[in-house]
Amino acid sequence: MEIALFVFLVVMAGTSGEMFVSRAMKGIGEVTSFRPGAIARVVGRALAEPWMWAGLGMMALAFFCLLVLLSRANVSFVVPVTALSYVMAALGGRFFLGEQVNASRWVGVCLVCLGVALVWAG
């Protein structure tokens, strides 16, 4: 039961954190140069975005919950079940970031859900 709770927390906090980070990074525009100076400027601009800090906070919470899970269960269980993030990602990408999620992507998301159920049952 505690494992299910921590999986839920990892998925919810992790996915919302990543969505906040995605929103911040899309806000600063596409990276076209990979020189160290240019990357440092991108990181600097990213850290000036409030969404980035909200995202990092949620990701820190997710990371703590992941540490607890990994201390109790095998990685071959923990990592596949956290793939439940796909469901959250597709829903969040569609409704929070306004991205288009096409039919084949929804089918992929359903397959991932089925796979997670099998991993849990195994």
């Binding site: 996915t15 990543e18 980070v21 995605s22 990074m25 899309k26 806000g27 600063i28 525009g29 596409e30 076209t32 990357i39 991108v42 990181v43 703590f64 992941l66 540490l67 607890v68 990994l70 201390s71 109790r72 095998n74 990685v75 071959s76 269980f77 990592v79 596949p80 956290t82 793939a83 993030s85 796909y86 990602a89 597709a90 969040g92 990408g93 569609r94 970031l97 306004g98 991205e99 288009q100 999620v101 096409n102 084949s104 992507r105 089918v107 992929g108 998301v109 359903c110 397959l111 991932v112 859900c113 089925l114 796979g115 997670v116 159920a117 099998l118 991993v119 849990w120 049952a121 195994g122």
Partner: protein, 159 residues
Amino acid sequence: METGQHLRGKTAVLLLLMVAFGSSGDTLMGKGMRAVGPPAEWSAARVGEFLSQAALSPIVWAGFGCLLLFFVSYMLVLTWADFSFVLPASAAAYAVVPLLGHFFLGEAVSPLRWAGVVTITLGVGLVGNTPPRTTLPVVEGTQRATAAAAAAAGTAKGD
């Protein structure tokens, strides 16, 4: 102006780095945290002890380093690719980690669990086979705006 092929190539390289760093990071973290063990109870003292023991483990730090490199690649790719494209596509690591867990950490994985892992991989493959960007990029000047509009028109024609 960037061609679709260039965008796909750049995306593929960064996704590959994400899978490599992400899966080795998760596996190392798992090995380190199993050695630490869960907090004995949910008190501040025990949770603090749990975190400090994790922070003293070199294996946990090695895993953490890999995950940081994963995160840097991830932030870079997110500046041009859609979130709902990047997260599932990068998560081929979700299939690689059980293999690493089984062969390097000696974890027992039942046939049903392998079936689940394969199903997840199929789902990931299906999700990854979509265009990397469905929203218009943020542009700074009129020149780039024109380029973006031309690129968008090209994409629309391609579809």
